[in-house]
Point group: C2
Chain length 290, copies 2
């Protein structure tokens, strides 16, 4: 790809910081400019060499960019759209938020239908957050879902696709609606279900004994229960309709499980669990062939 | 500890095979004798040096033992109790099953109140099963829950405790009832909840797209969904009352989550998730101090 001159990364957390590192390591741009609400984050990113320079005044800093990636929490993205609209309404912009319908709507409302915005969501992350969690290789061989709408220009889609490919990711295209429906199941529901499971620990008074009854299965399964509550509250509420719909599906499935467990029919239960195990193993099989 | 002359391991899967390896590596017994319903498993265990010898006739092989560990699935344990009762009613016996009330009751019914049985459950395992999954070090620094009842002799408890310590584990004592209540939450519920989550994948027709929307969070969280359906169906039904009770608690907690997500109150949700994250992190903190 043609190198960018100056890519801006707004929001220097796990995703933004790791992306800035990748841009520099792979020479995707000559310069990386950082934006953040926290001066301490900007200073740390500069010191660690994650960015080349930073601006506390976004409208000033955005002037020198030829591409902006907004990697802030869901509810902050629109503030950067407003800044772009004021200073550089024609700038090529993408984001990395976990929901897409809300973001694409806000882009249309604030930047307009003819703006150069393309929604993205890299399938990369961790229960850790913040600039200290930033690391190289986070996007390597990971899918990135790009969500063009009917207003999105083909050249912009191609440019954003090439950017993610250059960062090591595998681009996939989905509509914003389809993305939100799928991700509600594959990412948002696991988080909500794990948070709910962890909440049951509150029912046990004897924490010392509880601790001794916890094995690797519990710890691995609930690792994502250590994720940022603020980030996930924003994601769940931004993807509210899909979440409520999948929670209802889960409730039905769980009621079915409860009934079979309560009936004591071991063979029927084993058959049911066997079908579930098969679905999970098929995922592994298919991933091998990527 | 005084070495055993000849320890029998009945059921040479992940737990039994790994335990046999540990007994040999650490010199806990001069000989390890294997028992299994499958001749192919016995032959493989002998070839790999996991056991010294095997018997297909349990009542014959049990005669030479001074300690027997039954590591079969929950519903098979009682068959070995019956064999012990016939051939060696005074033998020191333990097990490694994931439920304890059922096992302790069966031991009492089949072996009698005065028998030398002590229930055990090592907090070690994996989604993998079978002799091929057996490995050294599986019990190193893992808690093992020993569940004496009012009929269990103190010397037998001490002997079983010393055995697990010699295998690298950290013994903990709980009543069978308390064990089953705790483990329903820390081990059985995560499995049931993950199986249920995985079952929702069946609602998505386009598996190729689904695959591309799956990240590390989903894969780690649902790893235990690849566990043996037969083993877990037996565990869920053996621990039925606790499971139904915890599923009901989960249903209540999930209904609460659904309500808040549906209300769109992001701040209230973030506070709730924050409390859950804190509970999960406290587990990590406490584990550091073990």
């Amino acid at each position: 790809m043609d190198r960018f001159e100056n890519i801006g990364v707004a929001g220097l957390g796990l995703i933004g910081g790791s992306l800035a590192l990748e841009i520099k390591k792979r020479g995707i741009a000559r310069r990386v400019t950082g934006f953040s609400r926290r001066l301490s984050t900007l200073k740390k990113a500069k010191e660690r060499g994650i960015i080349d320079e930073y601006f506390t005044d976004f409208e000033e800093g955005v002037k020198g960019l030829d591409f902006l990636i907004i990697t802030t929490p869901v509810n902050v993205v629109k503030d950067y759209f407003a800044g772009v609209k004021k200073s550089r309404p024609e700038l090529l912009v993408t984001d990395a938020a976990s929901v897409k319908v809300k973001i694409v709507r806000e882009a249309r409302r604030i930047l307009g239908k003819d703006a150069n915005f393309v929604g993205s969501h890299p399938m990369a992350g961790s229960e850790k957050s913040g600039i200290d969690a930033a690391k190289e290789g986070l996007f390597e061989n990971r899918f990135v879902i790009i969500t063009p709408s009917k207003y999105t220009g083909k050249e912009n889609v191609a440019a954003v696709k090439d950017f993610w490919s250059a960062a090591g990711s595998i681009p996939v295209f989905l509509s914003p609606r389809r993305h939100d429906r799928m991700l509600a199941l594959t990412s948002h529901m696991p988080h909500l279900i794990v948070y709910t499971l962890v909440s049951l620990l509150g029912k046990v008074k004897d924490k010392e004994t509880l601790l001794k009854c916890v094995g690797a299965g519990f710890l691995d399964t609930t690792r994502i229960g250590k994720s940022s509550p603020e980030l996930w509250a924003e994601i769940f509420t931004a993807n509210r309709e899909n979440m409520v719909s999948w929670i209802s599906e889960f409730e039905k499935a769980l009621a079915g499980m409860k009934k079979i467990v309560n009936s004591g029919s071991c063979r029927e239960l084993a058959e049911k669990l066997g079908r579930m195990k098969k679905m999970r193993e098929e995922l592994d099989e298919k991933r091998k062939n990527i």
